[in-house]
Amino acid sequence: MIKRIKVFSFFKLFFKEKGLIRSKKDKELIKLKQDINQIRKLIIDSVFKAGSGHPGGSLSAVELVYTLFDKFLKFDPDNPKWEDRDYFILSKGHAAPLLYTVLAYKKFFEIEELATLRKIGSRLQGHPDALKVPGVEVSTGSLGQGFGVAGGIALGLKISGKKNKVYALLGDGEIQEGSVWETAMACAHYKLSNICAIIDVNKFQIDGRVDDVMRVEPIDKKFEAFGWRSIRINGHDIKQVEDAYKWFLEYKGDKPSVIVADTVKGKGVSFMENKSEWHGKAPNENEYKAAKNEISKE
């Protein structure tokens, strides 16, 4: 018996090394990567069709947001207000194309609706509107506000004795807003260990490099000084992203957690990468084709 297992394991290892069989984990990872690629394409599609929008900061956070929805966040697309759901708040509301795509991908609405982004009469407003779109917890667009609301939700859940988690995605430019630090202070003061902030550190904002416009580093140290625990990761490395969410979920203490994720603005489309001009404009026909082409090759 023991021998047989040994032989079996040997073969398994052999074939694995040859890439002939894959573990369940590997398969999952491949699927996740395919989904992430597909989401990048859909982001480009919707921004192209809209003729405006924010590709740069949408592309930089795909791994961060999709991995969360795919593996950790509790939600029910058929019952978006399910009492035991976790909350995801896109505090950097201009990354709406990313949020909408992830929500559509997770069946909150049809993927086809993404083509209506920013069009008159569409539910998919330029920035997320909680009154219109299922899965959007609070309307955002004015930077800094979503984070404060997330803190309030975390406090409300805590005093209700509920176990739901609250996640908020912020940009590195966004944290220049003063209210972000008011919120950071309050989350630590009220020991909101149920909140996890994710900072998409793509190093660019509208007018250029964050370092040039108004330096915010060292972000992790700043949050720590405000009473948070922090982890710094590569926000495009799925393994690191997963581990970071586990690091948050397994925590038993009373501090709020922040995942500081280094990313590339415009990730996946080389001519958009690290260019602040791609913060908020749509590709033209040629650029659109090139972008789609490049993402397909990944």
Partner: protein
């Protein structure tokens, strides 16, 4: 004898009463709990009162977030900071998403007195009124304050309630012994067809005194307590314009954008008659006793009397 009472004291008491009735009521403040009197609630229900420190923007955002977890949230600060510092949070988050957040702002107008212009919000009606979905209520005395607080606690959505710092005369008790507060309705305090006064807040007491003086001179003035500034009572405004031919508005607020403007908007679109606005004449307030400041800006019984006489003489 005239009974005096403080709106904010009565507010604090009402919160306690509601706290017992509503287990999902939460109160938040920004280091002014002892001034806004939410401290009364804090002493009774410490686990449901949250001080957010001197951080009014985050105060509003936290209130918004807590309201999203099936809570009714009362937030208080001075009118200056609740409306001014946190305006955009109110606009983009609380009002737009129609959240169950009740902003009760004390220390409005020049009635703040000695603290001077930096603490005298004379623009809050204007800037909050301009936000879609926001409702603006402004009680005339402590009794009406409690009626309004009770009303908004049981009615969904965002409200802005404007309180004053001073202890002021109680004169709405007769009306409220038989009535509850009704949103969108002015309260008729006296009847008459010679002129109309539409007044809001504690200064309405001066109007009441003026109406008595004028009556003795044979001038009959219709007086409304406009505690509901938004929604406004269009019907009564139009009817009064038709029936009395002139309107005087009174408020402890800039004459730009406040009650006077709101009334004028209705009058000019429906039945133009002369409207005179008494209030702060587009200047900053200053230090002094509230009474002295009211005198400085013409918010006095005598000045109301002479303005009514002027209007009656000049109406068409």
């Amino acid at each position: 004898m005239l009974r005096m009472a403080s709106q904010r004291d009565y507010y604090g008491d009402k919160l306690i009463e509601l706290g017992y009735k509503m287990p999902n009521l939460v109160v938040m403040d920004a280091d002014l709990a002892s001034s806004t009197k939410t401290v009364k609630f804090k002493n009774e229900f410490p686990e449901r009162h949250f001080n957010l420190g001197i951080a009014e923007a985050n105060l509003m955002l936290f209130a918004a977030g807590v309201s999203l977890t099936n809570k009714i949230v009362f937030v208080s600060s001075f009118s200056m900071f609740a409306s001014g510092r946190a305006w955009e949070m109110i606009r983009n988050t609380i009002a737009h998403d129609r959240l169950n957040v009740k902003i009760v702002a004390s220390h409005s107008g020049v009635a703040v007195g000695e603290d001077g212009y930096s603490h005298q919000a004379t623009e809050d009606i204007a800037i909050i009124r301009a936000i879609p979905e926001m409702k603006v209520l402004s009680p005339a005395d402590a009794i009406e304050t409690q009626k309004i607080i009770e009303y908004i606690a049981y009615n969904k959505g965002p409200y802005y309630v404007r309180l004053t710092r001073e202890t002021t005369p109680i004169f709405m008790h007769d009306y409220y012994s038989n009535n509850d507060f009704v949103e969108g309705k002015f309260i008729k305090i006296s009847d008459g067809n010679d002129a109309t006064i539409i007044s809001t807040g504690s200064v309405t007491f001066f109007a009441l005194e003026a109406v008595d003086i004028l009556r003795k001179e044979g001038i009959n003035v219709r007086l409304f307590n406009a505690s509901s500034i938004k929604p406004i009572d269009k019907e009564e405004i139009i009817r009064s314009a038709k029936e009395t031919g002139c309107i005087l508005t009174i408020e402890d607020h800039n004459i730009i954008g406040g009650l006077g403007s709101a009334v004028t908007e209705v009058v000019s679109e429906n039945y133009p008659v002369i409207v005179k606005r008494l209030g702060i004449p587009d200047v900053f307030g200053s230090s002094g006793k509230p009474k002295e400041l009211f005198k400085l800006f013409g918010l006095t019984t005598d000045n109301i009397v002479s303005n009514i006489k002027y209007l009656i003489k000049n109406k068409k």
